[in-house]
Structures are given as structure tokens and as C-alpha cells.
């Protein structure tokens, strides 16, 4: 298992390297003189040229690229923001907690609602409750989150005045955004849970559990849920990854100072270093979440775990004389 995780970590290196090269190249090709951005439109041509040389932006593409990678690997230096002059890493780390909080809260909301209603509507298939929840889920999936966010702001902030519309200055500001984002992804989690559960509760082992005299709630929670969880975990993992990427739209709607807004802002201002650093950071976060999901699989399903362990050493061979032993016992 540890070997597997180590291997997965090593595999992340080429992925991240690819991301760096890709983003760097795109940003390199984007028009806009970095020195001009730093100095502003009123600076003289000489000053711009001087800064360009000083910072090394006039060097060839490959030199700049290898330099950038070298700095990251050797010194953890992601460069400086053109706008603020602050180190990029610092900027990202300042914004990341907001994004992480939003993502975690949203995933929690979507898990609670998605799982609960998914299970309920699967166990009561075709009941009115099922029909109502599936219709709501369909609605949730179809609504764009930024639109839902705007509507929620209008309703709860403008009309009812219960919650603040934007910003992040206390717990009250952290109710609407996670709810909007969470309910949006809850819809897809709910649909996935429902279909996965429906498949599982028709399995023979569920009948076996009932034949033991187990109560229905335990049959569902102990026996069915864990088996239905694999596709659900996949969806949740994906959504968490995407949310970590900064739910740009929601952060914009609610004016939350998150990573998504940082990157969008930096793209607009051609702040190359921040964009590169930000995207790299997101790629790392996404890979880590994916790894986490894969590890979770093996805890949910022992069959997957045994696949991970197959490398080289196999499980101690079961003595094949067990059956013979049995025969002897029986004949005794």
C-alpha cells in the first residue's frame, strides 16, 4: 500500500512538470510586456527596457523556462507578482484558506444532502418522496451555480435581508456561498448515490443480509451503502478538486478573496507569475485529491486494496489442502 502511494507521488512529478511547461508557454506567448505592466503606462521606454533586462524577461524562452523550473525546485521560489511585487507563493497562500474553506464547507453540504436524499429516494423508489427529490436534483444540476448564487443573494440579502450579500467578515458571510455551491453539487451526488444504491440493493448479498433477520436500516447502512460508495466517492473527489480550483464564479458573485479570483484577476492584468503559480498550485491540489480518492477506494473496497498489493509479493498462499482436511473431518 505504502509502495503504491509512493509510486503515485512519483507519478505526480511528470504531471506537474507538464502543467508548468504548458502554462508557462501559454503565458509566454500572451502579448503584454511584463516590465510595462510593473511600471505602469506612464514610465519611460528606457526604464521599461532596463527593468526587462534586470528581471531577465528579455532572455530566450528556454532559458527563462529552465530558470523558472530551477527556482521552483531548488528554492521553492515561484517568482514575484508584477502588480504587487510580493512573492507569488505568499499571495497564493494568503488566498488559499478562503478557497479551501469554501470547498470544504460546500462538499460537506453536498455530501450531507446528496447522500441522505440519494439513499432515501433509492430505498423508496417511485414513491412521491423519490419523485420530488429527483426533480429537485434535476433542477439543481441544470441551474448554473452563478445564477443560483445571484438569485439566492437577491432573495436572502435584498428581499429578506437575512444574510450579507458579499464579502468575508464573519460566519454570516459563510452561509450562502457554501449552500449555493454545495446544493448544486449535492444534486449530482444525489443522482449518483441513488442509481448506485438502486443497483446495490438488488444484489444477492442484500437479500442474504435480510435473510439473516437484520433490520432494514442496518441492511441499508451497513451492507448497501459501503458497496454503493465507490462511484459516489469518485464524483465527490472530482467536485472537491474542481472546488479547490477556486469556484471562480461563486467567489466573484459573493466577492470572496479566494484563489479563483486571484487567478482571474491576474489573467486580466497579464500577471504571468501569479497565473503560472496559481495554476500549478491547483494542479497539485487536484492531483492530491485524486490520490486521496484512490486511497479511499481501497479502504471502501478490499478487492481494490488487494489489487494495489499485488506488486511483487502476493498474499500468503492458502494451503490447498483445506478441502482435503475437510474431507477427513467429515469422514471422521
Amino acid at each position: 500500500m505504502l509502495k503504491y502511494i509512493g509510486k503515485r507521488f512519483l507519478l505526480m512529478i511528470p504531471v506537474l512538470l507538464g502543467v508548468i511547461i504548458f502554462v508557462f508557454t501559454i503565458m509566454y506567448l500572451t502579448p503584454g510586456n511584463p516590465a510595462r505592466i510593473m511600471l505602469g503606462p506612464n514610465a519611460s521606454e528606457e526604464a521599461v527596457q532596463q527593468l526587462l533586462e534586470e528581471k531577465g524577461f528579455d532572455r530566450p524562452y528556454f532559458v527563462q523556462l529552465t530558470d523558472y523550473i530551477k527556482n521552483i525546485v531548488l528554492r521553492g521560489d515561484f517568482g514575484e507578482s508584477f502588480q504587487t511585487g510580493e512573492p507569488v507563493l505568499k499571495e497564493i497562500l494568503e488566498r488559499f484558506p478562503t478557497t479551501l474553506r469554501l470547498a470544504t464547507l460546500s462538499v460537506t453540504v453536498s455530501l450531507v444532502f446528496g447522500l441522505t436524499f440519494g439513499i432515501i429516494s433509492a430505498t423508496r423508489q417511485y414513491s412521491i418522496l423519490d419523485k420530488v427529490t429527483t426533480s429537485f436534483a434535476l433542477l439543481g444540476v441544470s441551474m448554473p451555480s452563478f445564477w443560483a448564487g445571484l438569485m439566492a443573494t437577491i432573495l436572502f440579502s435584498s428581499i429578506l435581508g437575512w444574510l450579507p450579500a458579499s464579502g468575508s467578515y464573519g460566519w454570516k458571510y459563510w452561509i450562502l456561498p457554501p449552500l449555493v455551491l454545495g446544493l448544486h453539487s449535492a444534486a449530482s451526488i444525489m443522482r449518483m448515490t441513488r442509481s448506485s444504491m438502486l443497483e446495490v440493493i438488488r444484489q444477492d448479498y442484500i437479500r442474504t443480509a435480510r435473510a439473516k433477520g437484520q433490520t432494514e436500516s442496518k441492511v441499508i447502512i451497513v451492507h448497501a451503502l459501503r458497496n454503493a460508495l465507490i462511484p459516489v466517492v469518485t464524483v465527490v473527489g472530482m467536485q472537491f478538486g474542481i472546488l479547490l480550483g477556486g469556484s471562480i464564479l461563486i467567489e466573484s458573485v459573493f466577492a470572496l478573496p479566494g484563489l479563483g479570483r486571484l487567478i482571474i484577476g491576474s489573467i486580466g492584468k497579464r500577471d504571468r507569475m501569479v497565473v503560472q503559480g496559481g495554476v500549478l498550485f491547483l494542479a497539485l491540489a487536484f492531483s492530491l485529491v485524486n490520490l486521496l480518492v484512490d486511497i479511499l477506494y481501497s479502504f471502501i473496497d478490499p478487492r481494490i486494496k488487494s489489487q494495489y498489493q499485488v506488486t511483487g509479493k502476493r498474499r500468503k498462499e492458502v494451503p490447498n489442502n483445506v478441502d482435503n482436511k475437510l474431507e477427513k473431518q467429515e469422514s471422521n
Binding site: 444484489q203 444477492d204 448479498y205 437479500r207 442474504t208 443480509a209 435480510r210 435473510a211 439473516k212 433477520g213 437484520q214 433490520t215 432494514e216 451497513v222 451492507h223 459501503r226 458497496n227 471502501i300 473496497d301 478490499p302 478487492r303 488487494s306 498474499r315 492458502v318 483445506v322 478441502d323 482436511k325 475437510l326 474431507e327 473431518q329 467429515e330
Partner: protein, 365 residues
């Protein structure tokens, strides 16, 4: 109710509601089982054997299944009238079931030990440790080393998994064990082991057994009583000797003659011609008449009653009289070549045969 009787099914009718119509899975089935007795429930695929078993367990999938009527008397109470809670107490503790496919009837994400211990803990107030100890004991009883307690079903072979399923079923020492084609998914050598296992454990625990199978060989090995089902109805019931040596019903005769004999020089198998009728659209009268080489107009009129042809040997055929012989004028020749033709033309015409000849053919097998 008779003191001796453990289980008595009366007029059980179970149907499935489907988009294509009402499936008549079990029709007016009555059966009884004494304590310690083992009954073989035999029939083709779709004859309603498994549905009957699920009916006893009250586990008929609903929807689409509905138990229309009948009674299932077990230890003095009607299982169909028990509350859910009380029925749960019966399941696993008094009546256990071994399912057909060991590859799918174990939970893949739970260790086998836990699955056995679960059954024990539901019905008995034991600590986790005691329940696990019991699970280890039961595992060893079915011939699996107790060390494998913590392994998952995918680490076991098919035969071993079936042993685990049997272990779960027997963990609470049930009074009645229902084995639903427990050997169908296994290869022949493992089949024999599993059958021996069931027979031995049954003897040790003195429980009764309902063995559901389509394999007459399995029945001969394990059962004392045999019930043959066709299209959801019981058509012949009796002791092993009654059914195997004094076969009465044309369907049962067909079943036996379709078994190839080892020493016979047979070139072709002799199946019963035709297919089981569509359970949505059962033929009027005796459900077997479209395939029966003895069918007459009378067969199509009403469902024949069960007739006691010999003491405690029941047959559902209008051509059988109380002495167990076919009535005159109602029987066609039982030869292999004529069978396919006979099925087409016996629908309208009666073919005569003298009953002595028939007796001969019955006696021979």
C-alpha cells in the same frame, strides 16, 4: 395443527406484477414438513421453487411480488401474518436460507467472519468477542480454518464461499434450513462435498431441510420426501421411493426419462418436448397439457385436484385413479418417436393404449 409438523403451507399464491402482465409464480401451493424431515422441491427453471422459498422467508421482492393469499404455519403461527419485527426474529434464527449463487450472495466489502458473527449477534445477546468466537467455530464446522475469519469473500473460491453461506445460515442453529439450489453454481466435485456437508450438519443439528433443485440426483442423495413443481403448482408429492420408483405424473415420468442412463446405449437425449408455459398466460386446466402426451379435452377444462394414489403419494393428474393407474382411454403410447407427433395431435384426439403396457413402461423407469 399436527404436533409433528414444523411447517405447513396452505394454498400459497404468489404473483409478480410486471409491465407485461401478472406472473403467476406460485399457484395454490400446499405443502407440509415434519420436524427433522428433508424435502426436495424439484422443478424446471421458472417453476416457482425459489419464489416459494422466498415466500416462506417473507422475502419476496415487493414490488413486483405480492403474496396473494394462503397461510404459512410455522411453529404455531402464520408467518404471513407476523409483524415485520417478529418475522425478522424468525429469519436467520428459526428459518435460514442458503442461496443459489455463492459468488454474489456474500457482501464483498465485509470479512466473512463479520458476516457470520452478524447473524449471531442479531439473534443472541452475545458480546462481540463471543460472537466472533462462535463465528470461528461455525467456520471450522463447515471446514474452513478459523484463521481465515478476517478474510474477504474475494479471497475464497466458489465452493469455499458456499461453505461460508452455509455457515451463516447455520450459525444460529435454525429449525429449518432452506437450500435454494446450493450446488448449481459449483462444479461436480465440490457439489458432492457441499451436499455431504449440508446432510451432515442437518443430521447434527437435527434441523429440517427444504432442498430446492432441478437435479434429481441431488434429491436422491439428501431428501426423504420429494415435491415436484410445475408452473407454480405442486404436481406430485411423495416419499423418495414413491417418486423415484412409482412415478405417476406424466411430467415426472418425462423428467426421469430425460436423464440419460450410464449403461444405456443412448445416442440422443430425450427431453420433454416444448417449453414451460408462460407464467403470465398459463393454459387453462392442467398447465402441463400442451406438452403432455396423454392430454385430452378434459385436461383443458379445470385444474386437476391432487389425488392420493398411494398412501401419502399425491398426484395432480385427472388420468390417475386412486389405485395409481392411468384410466383407460386416456393414455397415448409412450414411445420416443411418437412423442413429438403426439403432442400436436393429442390436443384434439385421444390415442388409446392398454393400461398394462403403460404399467410396464412405468415400472421400467
Amino acid at each position: 395443527m399436527n404436533e409433528n409438523k414444523l411447517l405447513e403451507i396452505k394454498n400459497l399464491t404468489i404473483q409478480y406484477k410486471t409491465d407485461n402482465g401478472l406472473v403467476h409464480a406460485v399457484n395454490d401451493l400446499s405443502l407440509s414438513l415434519k420436524k427433522g424431515e428433508s424435502l426436495g422441491l424439484v422443478g424446471e427453471t421458472g417453476a416457482g421453487k425459489t419464489t416459494t422459498a422466498l415466500g416462506i422467508m417473507n422475502l419476496v421482492p415487493d414490488p413486483p411480488g405480492i403474496i396473494i393469499g394462503g397461510e404459512i404455519q410455522f411453529e404455531g403461527s402464520d408467518l404471513l401474518k407476523l409483524s415485520k419485527q417478529n418475522m425478522r426474529k424468525v429469519r436467520g434464527e428459526k428459518i435460514s436460507m442458503v442461496f443459489q449463487d455463492p459468488m454474489t450472495s456474500l457482501n464483498p466489502v465485509m470479512t466473512v467472519g463479520k458476516q457470520i458473527a452478524e447473524s449471531v449477534r442479531i439473534h443472541e445477546t452475545l458480546s462481540r468477542k463471543e460472537a466472533e468466537q462462535r463465528a470461528v467455530d461455525v467456520l471450522e464446522m463447515v471446514g474452513i480454518p478459523g484463521e481465515r475469519f478476517n478474510e474477504y469473500p474475494h479471497q475464497f473460491s466458489g465452493g469455499m464461499r458456499q461453505r461460508v453461506v452455509i455457515a451463516i445460515a447455520l450459525a444460529c442453529r435454525p429449525d429449518l434450513l432452506i437450500a435454494d439450489e446450493p450446488t448449481t453454481a459449483l462444479d461436480v466435485t465440490i457439489q458432492a462435498q457441499v451436499l455431504d456437508l449440508i446432510a451432515n450438519l442437518k443430521k447434527e443439528q437435527q434441523s429440517s431441510l427444504i432442498m430446492i433443485t432441478h437435479d434429481l440426483g441431488v434429491v436422491a442423495e439428501v431428501c426423504e420426501k420429494v415435491a415436484i413443481m410445475y408452473a407454480g403448482r405442486l404436481i406430485e408429492y411423495g416419499t423418495l421411493d414413491d417418486i423415484y420408483n412409482h412415478t405417476r405424473h406424466p411430467y415426472s415420468i418425462g423428467l426421469f426419462s430425460s436423464i440419460p442412463s450410464i449403461d444405456g446405449d443412448e445416442e440422443r437425449l430425450r427431453p420433454i418436448p416444448g417449453l414451460m408455459p408462460d407464467p403470465i398466460n398459463l393454459p387453462k386446466g392442467c398447465s402441463f397439457w400442451p406438452r403432455c402426451n396423454r392430454a385430452t379435452e378434459n385436461c383443458k377444462r379445470a385444474v386437476p385436484a391432487l389425488i392420493e394414489s398411494d398412501p401419502d403419494h399425491w398426484v395432480r393428474c385427472i388420468h390417475i385413479d386412486k389405485a395409481g393407474f392411468f384410466e383407460k382411454n386416456a393414455v397415448s403410447k409412450k414411445t420416443d418417436t411418437s412423442r413429438n407427433e403426439s403432442i400436436t395431435h393429442t390436443k384434439d384426439t385421444d390415442v388409446e393404449i392398454d393400461s398394462s403396457k403403460l404399467e410396464e413402461s412405468l415400472a421400467s423407469g
